[in-house]
Symmetry: D2
Subunit: 241 residues, 4 copies
């Protein structure tokens, strides 16, 4: 069965800033969704200002992998929607958190840390080095991906140690960053991927699109029944003591 | 400087159940605190029904490692206290979560998962096997610790994969459990340790006391300055593009 | 392209012991290969007593995932074949090491440890609990797999901490074991899977077959170019100092 | 008891190259040993050209933590000495591998990979960023350590994913590197630390000395009895089937 992807975007910069609108006339969500459709995924989009932020029970239940881009309006995302997304992740839905999504409620809630970092908007060159060449997320990607200009994110990045560290970024201004990180949470798989500041055409880059597409494949649910929790009868006899 | 420990206990079973009071006449917190004093730590206790649950700013600021036992009344712990404890952990305070503390607000918030599990009160024998003999937490501990009777906790335990898995429990009724788990969160170190149901004399067991004492040593703060987050000037010149 | 599997077996017990031959008339390699063919993989077998142990350059170059079962004759495997297999793993070939293969030259060489363990042949019941429900290796598998009789392997198992711990075994005689472990080495992925003593019909168990089949899928090479090592020209100008 | 350290150095560059001799008149081993003596450790040195490379059974048995620096003459280290060092590490001796020691027999044997990397001698500036502020190895260290000139080591570094990643290096020429990595092997703890090319005064840098000193403390043996391996009697009755 084709993996079903929902690309969620806060979609505010696009409406405020002509620079962003010029780069992403269909929104960041539109650009990513188009790339994923091209890769063969069954892809929808959802945005903050739709009812329930476009993430109704129906949409979530029919989503195998959710992609998340937010920045200005993290605080406007309703807590109950965050709780529903989290429940779906623990049940197996894949989650790909992009760039400034590091500060989204859903990412912070799944990580348990502040998710804080250093940042700078100064046209730094970024070079993302592959540090795990065995990982399916880097299929078809060279030794590094170079982005002529990006926002800088620098360490210390306050996240739990990733289960798998896939990319490390080099920045022109002298910093490094763990920029491709996987996590397992419950039955679900999470990938954090750093690049994608709204004023740069990062999501039009084919290597970046390839990573996101690979991550969708990797994060797709295994499809097992949810484990049984709570009171459990013994499977073996217990002696009287 | 001597490591300063605060042993926090909800202290409700002790007041309700004579069986528990007989085993722990000074409360679970008292038993653990006595063992830690004996090991040379500067040890205090705090309980749920004290003002601010005994965890005032002053107490938290003077605590290097906090030990947490709770069960019946997780929901009575004030969210603002949980937030203050979490902030202190991210700043470097060690945290040792015991047994039913797996469902405490503070542990769930730091883990990002449901922390659910299977359980049974049926006098199972438990045998905790050491799976990382290089870890300082198992100093002075044999190949396994055997507890004649304990509550069973069984997999799947819905936690993030531990940074280091130190103990795995065998239960008489047929289950296994990841019963000694370390996590790094921010500047702080966390140890989850499974045993300690209130109706058994587990915290009087010298091997269990030894593990908790070792964990205090291991979890003590490194004492570095908190990293700087936010906007950062470049350390190297960035070219005009 | 269909994943190409080679099932390697030392094939000695089958020739010496009628009990084993009765359970595996086509050899352990034959039983596993039949299951994998049934799952749609392009599957070959190779055994110790063939020239070059059946692992010629041609065979290795056309193998995406190698499965390894050995026990009595680890020392008879030629060092140069071990080196060739290791090189292929680092280049990306998947490797699935089964049961007593824990003591094979190839596994010990890739792990860097003694790979020693406790063992007992006493018809223990084994129950393999899934501890990572998000992992593709447990697709279609229940909360646990129960084997009525198996050889016991017990902790401490002297391996590096697995990158991902997928199964933990419970044994009737009181032990536990990390029985499903993944490792990344170079461009290659490795899965160690415990069950499969030669005198029990373990590889005829459908759940065990399912795990091996899932592991083949998971371990298949990503297919990237091997990274470039050695002297490297700078990608950015370096200032005179 | 004071931790006993042996600093092992191949000590060849010092004898061939006046530049190196000027920087390290007592050898690299002498510089490191002096720093560790200053930090209060019971410190000895040993070098390649001594009988048994200075690593007799007596020396190894009285060493809690071994520090290793080699480059030109890895192949001259006798295999039997490597085997003895490895056995001691698995039994609990700490091991700190420095810089070009990444290609030593002992490190490759404990890692199981090629340990290959990119390199360049071009006076790159190196900046080592702390990515795990909770780790005792970074006690007293700032957010980063800056080295005005160093040899570059770049990714991909062909090592197993570290158990804990402590430092990531930024290089002026555009590369990154996992430059502080911990591993657990058997009862022993290993720390790989990148800096220290022989033509730069890196080991005179106080922050670098501090990291090595912290690593000694961290890697010191836990002092448990070696686990029992091999045939094991059941701890619980096994039913007839």
């Amino acid at each position: 069965m084709t993996t079903r992807v929902t690309v969620w975007n806060e979609n505010r910069h696009e409406n405020k800033n002509p620079v962003v609108r010029d780069i992403y006339p269909e929104g960041i969500h539109g650009a990513i969704a188009n790339a994923l459709k091209g890769a063969g995924y069954d892809t929808k989009t959802a945005t903050l200002d739709e009812p329930e932020h476009g993430l109704t029970d129906e949409v979530l239940n029919e989503t195998d992998v959710l992609i998340w881009w937010g920045h200005l309006a993290h605080h406007e995302v309703a807590d109950e929607v965050v709780e529903k997304v989290k429940k779906r992740v623990l049940e197996g839905m894949g989650l790909i958190v992009l760039h400034s999504g590091h500060f989204s409620k859903i990412f912070k809630s799944l990580m348990g840390t502040s998710c804080d970092l250093k940042w700078r908007e100064a046209d730094d060159k970024e070079r993302l080095w592959v540090v795990d060449p065995s990982h399916p997320i880097v299929k078809g990607v060279g030794e590094y991906i170079e982005l002529e200009k990006e926002e800088m994110y620098g360490e210390h990045f306050d996240i739990p140690a990733p289960d798998q560290l896939v990319f490390i970024s080099w920045f022109e201004g002298g910093e490094v960053f763990r920029s491709g990180c996987t996590y397992q949470r419950g039955n679900g798989k999470i990938f954090y991927f750093r690049p994608g500041h709204e004023t740069y055409p990062t999501y039009h880059n084919e290597q970046i699109q390839r990573v996101i597409s690979n991550a969708v494949e990797w994060a797709a649910p295994v499809g097992r029944k949810y484990p049984q929790y709570g009171n459990a009868k013994p499977l073996e006899a217990i002696k009287d003591k």
